[in-house]
Amino acid sequence: MSSTGDITTPRPRKQIDGWRWTGRIFLVIMLLYTALPMAWMILTSIKSGFAAMQFPPQWWPTEPTMASYQKLLDPQNSVGQDFLRFFWNSLFVSFVTTILAVVVAVPAAYAFSRFNFPGRKFLFFSVLLRNMFPAVIFLVPLFILMRWLGLVNTHGSLILTYLTFGLPLAIWLLKGFYDNIPIQLEQAARIDGATRFQAFLLIVTPLSVPGIIATAIYSFIGAWNEYIYAATFLTKNEQLTLPVGIQRFFSENTTDFPGLMAASFIMSVPVVVLFLLLQKYFVRALTEGAVKH
């Protein structure tokens, strides 16, 4: 596909080059659209508050400073204490959510892919339908439910809720993956004396690791970035997760844009690193599962 030289076509080269150049120019535009806002976030975060508030702006910081980062990450002062606590809370909630999501989604996706029990289609559709509904609709009833369960102002309320909004796509993704694992593998294992559950756990699960990793990334990112439920269920300062914590903090300090940009940057780093490290699994899971016909 990449070599155009081996097959000589009657088409003039000029036209092929035209498409290629269109693609290149398009990619450059998209790169600018994507990267410039992020670059501006980083450039602003290393300015002083005074340097950020100039017109015309300093395109390149004349006196770069890490002061905003030091302030946010220093456990000695109160800002740093709060920020690090938010960070830790986010990490904890996202981590637990991810593990539970995998534990719940894997068997469910497997069952939807392999078994044929009454109500299977209905249940699968209901799971998918969950994704249709916006968080806001569930806020009031869930708040009352959490109050009833005694989970308000605990991270448990967030974990339980995040689990459900990550599950539908996770199950759908994994089911596509299982659909493409040949059933003969399990049949062979069954003939050799494995129980159905052993075949699932020892034969199929290892093969679906890319799908499981993709599911895990998806759940983690979703939980890390969630805002609405966290803003509603948590009121105590020491419980807040990063998105809410940052919002509460900077709505009181509306002019500290370098600090806000530094906080946004730090908040983005874990998920971006995680995704970039594991993105091949994500794309592979999509290719081999969901998208394949």
Partner: protein, 319 residues
């Protein structure tokens, strides 16, 4: 394998008299154990809220949400909504927001996926950079763009002034005419990478032999795209567009954090408006009725969504 087992199963089903549904359920009782955890979580967090929202939409509650004191008002909440001007304005906004965001994000993502399909130096890095906006939190994205759009120190306005496109710092998000398009730009920034990933995955399933054969037969690049590549991407395109449409219809964070729906409701969409009615003005019953209307629309969308998502769901018989 799918076709073979499916066929055999169909034959079997035709030959043997089907046991009744309870016998089937009993026979496959072990199967339910696998889906049970997922179903329990779903029931608690979904079925109950839906029931509750429908009930609440017929009541008037005091601001503190003391449920004991709610008063049955029939369909009054619904008529309040449908007769208010704000509702229609917000509805128009919602449709502009959803349709524009979805289509533009899809087209940009499709273009990027096609342009990235061919191997070249730096492709992996470029792809990684393009994906980042989708990964970072919408709260961070909202703050980044709020700062870029800032009415005094925003870099976008400054660039426009420097280039002579504006004679003074334009006001992007405090202006009723520009606020919605400005927010759509933010939303697309965050969402086109999703379309890109989906379509990149889809492109890998297009058989190379077909493209090469078309090339040997003298098909132009456009013809190869239109007659070979595109038909293969129809399924994934439908799914992507629906997922984007649902996500956009339900989006909240970007308008809420950036503008809070203002100025004068110009950037309110349904979800932010419901949130404001409930948590801002404590009109729980009206917000619930609003949510029920939203359900109705989503169910229509949901029909297509489920159909597209379960497209590759073939009835198979397992072990």
């Amino acid at each position: 394998m799918t076709i073979a087992t499916g066929h055999a199963a169909a034959l079997q089903r035709a030959d043997i008299k089907r046991p009744n549904v309870f016998q089937q359920m009993w026979a496959s009782r072990a199967d339910y154990l696998y889906v049970l955890p997922a179903i329990v979580v779903m029931l608690v967090v979904i079925a109950y809220p839906i029931y509750y929202t429908v009930e609440l939409s017929f009541f008037k509650t005091p601001p503190g949400l003391q449920l004991r004191d709610k008063v049955f008002v029939g369909t009054e909440n619904y008529s309040t909504i449908l007769s208010s001007d704000v509702f229609w304005k917000v509805t128009v906004n919602t449709f502009i927001w959803t349709i524009a965001s979805t289509l533009i994000a899809f087209v940009l993502g499709f273009g990027a996926a096609l342009a990235l399909h061919r191997d070249f130096v730096g492709r992996a890095i470029l792809r990684a950079i393009l994906i980042i906006p989708w990964v970072i939190s919408a709260v961070a994205a909202s703050y980044i763009w709020k700062w870029i759009y800032h009415s005094d120190f925003g870099v976008l306005g400054a660039v426009m002034v420097q280039l002579g496109l504006a004679d003074r710092q334009p006001n992007f998000i405090d202006n009723v005419h520009t606020v919605l398009p400005s927010l759509i730009v933010v939303n697309i920034w965050r969402e086109f990478p999703f379309a890109m990933i989906m379509l990149m995955a889809g492109l890998q399933t297009v058989p190379d032999q077909l493209l090469r054969a078309a090339k040997v037969d003298g098909a132009s690049a456009w013809q190869r795209f239109w007659h070979v590549t595109f038909p293969h991407l129809r399924g994934v395109s439908t799914v992507t567009i629906l997922l984007l449409a649902v996500a956009n219809f339900n989006s909240f964070i970007i308008p809420w954090i950036t503008t809070g729906g203002g100025p004068s409701n110009a950037s309110h969409i349904w979800i932010t408006h419901i949130y404001e009615l409930a948590f801002g003005r404590q009109r729980w019953g009206v917000a619930a009725a609003y949510s029920v209307l939203l359900f109705a629309i989503l169910m229509v969308l949901g029909y297509f969504y489920v159909k597209a998502l379960s497209g590759n769901d073939k009835q198979e018989h397992g072990a």
